[in-house]
Each structure stands twice: as structure tokens, then as C-alpha cells.
């Protein structure tokens, strides 16, 4: 079907290849950068199993899992943001505004500060689960208040309630932390700033299935996303089951964002920027722009983490702070443009 000019299909392919290359190049750069040096000339031998123990450890146990988790989380956040923007018909929507970051943060704060536990190995794997549950509970809470029996989910109310609840939770977290042990507060603060703390292979394995299922599922829903984004009456008119589609898509978005945030910590603005830039590049048709937004999201977060990791020795700056530094001005630019 020649609905779309062949040149636009070619542009889409070109952009996909381009951003894929960006990801590969940034990954390679990122492998060699960091506290323990691993020279670029040693990368290939280390991959082939000819590296020293130290080189192998740095590459396979520290750098690679972190790179992979960052890309996956960025992809998930970008897709979550794109879906949210479509179902609320709001270009400024980000998973952060429906309380995902603050919900996960709140749960982790409570869990960590008030349960008598130490940061050992088994505990670390509990955190994403706790964060995920916290994010889900918060979203359900917000959903409940923006739901109307006759018309279903009200997108505007969802955004307003979401912003309110997020702020309330953030305030509450500050209150909780101000009275707690310094060392524990330090960890929670790092988590909140989006420090990609869960950089280990099990986290990759935990995240991968979500993406493998939900990315194709979202592309499957591309037409309905197009219509929801367009206008409510138009979507109803062509037979979109509004209540059901909004609920299913909101849950998809929440699952994606909560999975990402519970492993990386609170990261905002990726879900806002990646879809928006992709739309500028190729237009708002979801079939075209979703794949590009996903790749962009992965690349952005990887880039942010690589920069942040190497900016200040030895710990670096959290990726969430780097994305906020780039994302906040972008957000203001979007607001001004409107």
C-alpha cells in the first residue's frame, strides 16, 4: 500500500540504522571508560576470552551488564512515555507524572528504612520487586481517582492527580529520610536520583521478558494508539473501545516504566524526550515513530549514564541527574513552544 511515501519508509529505515549505530558506538566507548581502565585495544581479545582475569571481570561483570541494563531501561521508559502521550493526548506526559517514580521510590524508602535489613546480596534482588509493587499501587491509587463510572478513565484528571500524588509522596519521603540513619539515607537518595544501581546480569534477565512481550504488543496496538492520540470522538466513531484500550495501554505503560525504574532508580524525562524527538523526525504515526523512539530512549540513557559515570571521579553523577539536566530545559522549550 502506497499510503506513505516510499521516501518516508526509507527515512524510517535510515533512522533505525542510524540510532542502532549510535547505540553500538556509545556502548563501545562506554566499555573502555570508567574507574578501572580497560584499553580499547584489549576489548576484542577480552571478548574472545584472551583477556586477563581483571579485564574479563571489568568487562563482563561491571561494564557490560550496566550498558545492557541502561539500554533496556531507556527503551522501556521511551515506550512507556510514548504510550502515555497517546492515551492522554498530551505531548508533555512522562511516566514520572503518573507517579511511577515516586511510587517506586516511596516503597523502596519504606522497605529500606524501616525493615531491619542490611544491604546484602539477596536483599538487593528484593528491591526491584518492592519498587515495582510500589509503582503499581500508586498508579492504581491515581487511576481510582481519575476514573468515572460512565466515561471511564479521564486523561486530564489522570495527569493532574498524578502530579499531585507524586509531589505528596516526594514530600513524605523527605520527611521519612530526615529522621533516618545517614548511611541508609545515602542509598535511598542515590536511588531516587537514578543511579542505575541494579547493574548485574540477573536484572537484565528480569527485564528482558517484559520488553520482548510489550514492545511487539505496543506495535500491535499502533493503530489504536494513533486514534487515541487523535481525538476521543474520532476514536469512538471508528469503533475503538475506549475504556478497554485505555486501561490495557495504561497498564502496558506502567509495567514498562515500573520495570525500568525499579532497576535503575528514579529517571525522568527519557519518556518525554525520546518520543517527542522521534515524532519530530518522522511524524506522529505510531507504526513509524515507535521503533525510533525506543532506540532513541535506549541510546539517551546509555549516553547519560556514560557521561555521568565519567564526569566526576570516582562515583560519577547519577544518570537520572544527567537526563534531568538535559531534559528539564527541553521540557521548558516544549512548554514555551506551546
Amino acid at each position: 500500500m502506497d499510503l506513505i511515501r516510499p521516501t518516508r519508509i526509507r527515512k524510517k529505515r535510515m533512522l533505525i540504522v542510524l540510532f542502532f549505530l549510535f547505540i553500538v558506538i556509545t556502548s563501545i566507548v562506554s566499555m573502555g571508560l570508567g574507574y578501572s581502565s580497560l584499553s580499547y585495544s584489549r576489548l576484542i581479545p577480552t571478548f574472545l576470552g584472551e583477556g586477563t582475569f581483571k579485564e574479563e571481570f571489568v568487562l563482563f561483570s561491571i561494564r557490560l551488564p550496566r550498558i545492557v541494563i541502561t539500554i533496556l531501561a531507556g527503551m522501556a521508559l521511551a515506550l512507556a512515555g510514548a504510550i502515555l502521550q497517546a492515551i492522554t493526548s498530551n505531548e508533555l506526559a512522562d511516566p514520572g507524572i503518573i507517579g511511577i517514580n515516586s511510587g517506586a521510590g516511596m516503597a523502596i524508602t519504606l522497605f529500606y528504612l524501616f525493615l531491619p535489613i542490611e544491604l546484602d546480596h539477596s536483599f538487593i534482588y528484593m528491591l526491584p520487586v518492592v519498587g515495582f509493587i510500589g509503582a503499581l499501587l500508586t498508579v492504581f491509587f491515581i487511576y481510582f481517582f481519575s476514573f468515572n463510572k460512565t466515561v471511564g478513565l479521564q486523561p486530564v484528571k489522570l495527569v493532574i492527580t498524578g502530579v499531585g500524588v507524586s509531589m505528596a509522596l516526594s514530600g513524605f519521603m523527605v520527611v521519612l529520610m530526615s529522621g533516618s540513619e545517614w548511611r541508609k539515607v545515602d542509598f535511598v537518595a542515590k536511588w531516587l536520583s537514578g543511579s542505575i544501581w541494579g547493574s548485574d546480569w540477573p536484572f537484565v534477565i528480569a527485564m528482558l521478558p517484559w520488553l520482548l512481550i510489550l514492545i511487539p504488543f505496543s506495535l500491535f496496538k499502533a493503530n489504536r494508539l494513533n486514534l487515541l492520540n487523535l481525538s476521543e470522538p474520532v476514536a469512538i466513531g471508528v469503533g475503538v473501545n475506549l475504556k478497554r484500550e485505555r486501561f490495557v495501554l495504561l497498564m502496558t505503560s506502567v509495567a514498562l516504566a515500573a520495570t525500568a525504574v525499579s532497576v535503575t532508580g528514579g529517571i525522568a524525562f527519557i519518556g518525554l524526550m525520546a518520543p517527542h524527538i522521534a515524532k519530530v523526525l518522522i511524524g506522529p504515526r505510531h507504526q513509524l515513530y515507535l521503533p525510533i523512539a525506543i532506540l532513541l530512549g535506549g541510546w539517551f540513557l546509555l549516553l547519560a549514564d556514560t557521561i555521568g559515570r565519567n564526569l566526576v571521579e570516582p562515583d560519577g553523577i547519577a544518570a537520572g541527574i544527567v537526563t534531568a539536566l538535559i531534559g528539564a530545559p527541553y521540557f521548558i522549550y516544549l512548554l514555551l513552544k506551546k
Binding site: L3, F220, N226, L227, L230, P233, I236, V238, V240, N241
Partner: protein
């Protein structure tokens, strides 16, 4: 023959009852126009009939089935809706927007079949928008854009098309162009057209059946000759109208009109009573 029937309909926004115990039917294969003053509930009625908003009580039945009981996708194969112009189609090409009209027929991944693309091309052709197929909607003029939206509802291949003030924001030439296009669709393809119009003379010229509303109730419903009458317009719009004939179409026409003498506009009355309340308090 009647396919769409509205019986004792009540529609409300929050607690405000907008449409009250309304009974109408939509004649098949005709052009029906809903007229009335601002806030009389004509848009609300159109939205309720097309399931865009829920209704509180009564029955809206299409082919004998309540619209809320029918699967929304199969209903979308019978009725298409053109809401008031939405400005949200930024960044989409004409072809993309028109293809969304194929949604009721799509399954799974929503790839367009040969049939789909034929219908889309046909809809573009009929509305005279084929030349813009690859252009972005935001680069088109108001009249062209409205024709594209009509093409989208045509791509839905429904027997009924509902339009909410399809001529708003258009200059008089483009208004006529849109209405003539709808008339052509009605005559040549026997599509039932239901639309809300502001202009009484346009309604008189193009409609076969007119429903005149006031305060959410029907004042008069019937043929143009029956509805475009001095008494009816007096009640519906609070105007004193001079009815004559259009010298070209010979349809009834409001040649001149004045506001009714001796009766204040209801809005002004509200203002007076408001100030009296304030005065009484001070």
C-alpha cells in the same frame, strides 16, 4: 423507513439536564438537519446518538438494537461521525488520516488490504483531495482539511454519516462546497446524512427533514416547508422572521429578521436579576 430511533431521551452533563424526554427518528437515505439556538442541546443530541457521550435515560436504537448494546466496532461499520474540527492531526499526511477510517474493518496488526487502499483512494477521489494524499494535514486550508475529514468518514463505508457543524470556520464559498458534496453523496450513493447546522437558510436549502430544538426538546420536526415557518422560528430562536422563497432554489428562506420586540433576551434577564441580588445585599 426508519433505522435510527430516539425515544424519551434524557442526556445530562453532570447534573444539568441538556436533552429532555426527546423523541425523534432519522429518515433513511435523507438529509436531516438539526437546528436550534446556542446551548439548545443539538450537539449533545448528535453526540448521544453516536455514542460519544452516554445518556441518562431513554432509548437510542439502531436497526432495533440499543446502540450501547451493540459492539462499538460493528456499529462503526454502520455510522460514521465527523466531530467539530479537531486540530490534533498535526504531522499526519492526508492519506494516513483517511486510512484511520478503515479501522472498523481491520484486524490484528492493521495492515491495509487491497480493498482498504481502494476504498481510501475512492474516498480521496470523491472529496477531491486525491492530489494532497501525501501532504501534511497542517499545510492544507480549512476547506481542504474539512474535505479530508469527510473523506475519512467516507472510508468507513457507512450508510449513515453524522456531522457536527461541518461548515464552522469556513468562508461562504467553502461552506457551500462542503454542503454540495454531502448532497452529492446523499443523492448518488443514498447515504443518510445527519448534521447540526447554524445557518437556517443552509438547512432549508439542503435538508429533506429538519429537527428544530429548544431547551433540549423538539419544537418541530418535519419537512422544510413545515419547519421553516414564522411561528417555529419565533419559538426556536426568539426572532421575528420574514419567510420568503429563494429565487434560485425555490426553497423557503428567511429573508430578514429582527429580535422579538418587548421580550428581553433570557441572558439579559439573568444579568438584571443578578444585579438586583447584589443591590439587595449591599
Amino acid at each position: 423507513m426508519v433505522r435510527l430511533l430516539v425515544y424519551d431521551l434524557n442526556v445530562s452533563y453532570e447534573e444539568n439536564l441538556i436533552v429532555k424526554d426527546l423523541n425523534i427518528h432519522i429518515p433513511d437515505k435523507k438529509i436531516t438537519t438539526i437546528i436550534g439556538s446556542n446551548g439548545c442541546g443539538k450537539s449533545t443530541l448528535l453526540k448521544a446518538m453516536t455514542r460519544i457521550i452516554p445518556y441518562r435515560a431513554g432509548i437510542i436504537a439502531f436497526d432495533g438494537v440499543r446502540i450501547e448494546d451493540e459492539d462499538t466496532k460493528s456499529l462503526a461499520k454502520k455510522m460514521a461521525i465527523l466531530p467539530q474540527i479537531t486540530e490534533n492531526a498535526v504531522g499526519l499526511t492526508v492519506g494516513e488520516l483517511v486510512s484511520y477510517g478503515r479501522h472498523p474493518y481491520q484486524k490484528g496488526w492493521g495492515r491495509l488490504t487491497q480493498k482498504d487502499s481502494e476504498v481510501i483512494d475512492w474516498a480521496l477521489e470523491v472529496t477531491g483531495t486525491a492530489a494532497y494524499k501525501y501532504q501534511l494535514i497542517d499545510t492544507l486550508s480549512g476547506g481542504q482539511r474539512q474535505r479530508v475529514w469527510i473523506a475519512m468518514s467516507l472510508a468507513q463505508e457507512t450508510e449513515m454519516i453524522f456531522l457536527d457543524e461541518p461548515t464552522t470556520y469556513l468562508d461562504i464559498a467553502h461552506q457551500l462546497e462542503i454542503l454540495m458534496l454531502l448532497q452529492k453523496l446523499n443523492k448518488e450513493q443514498e447515504r443518510t446524512i445527519v448534521m447540526v447546522l447554524h445557518d437556517i437558510n443552509q438547512a432549508a436549502r439542503f435538508a429533506d427533514y429538519i429537527i428544530a430544538l429548544k431547551d433540549g426538546q423538539v419544537v418541530k420536526a418535519g419537512s422544510v416547508e413545515e419547519v421553516i415557518q414564522r411561528e417555529v422560528l419565533k419559538e426556536v430562536f426568539q426572532i421575528d422572521a420574514e419567510i420568503g422563497r429563494d429565487i434560485r432554489t425555490h426553497k423557503p428562506m428567511c429573508i430578514s429578521y429582527d429580535l422579538l420586540k418587548g421580550e428581553e433576551c433570557p441572558n439579559e434577564k439573568v444579568t438584571y436579576s443578578d444585579t438586583s441580588v447584589i443591590n439587595a445585599r449591599t
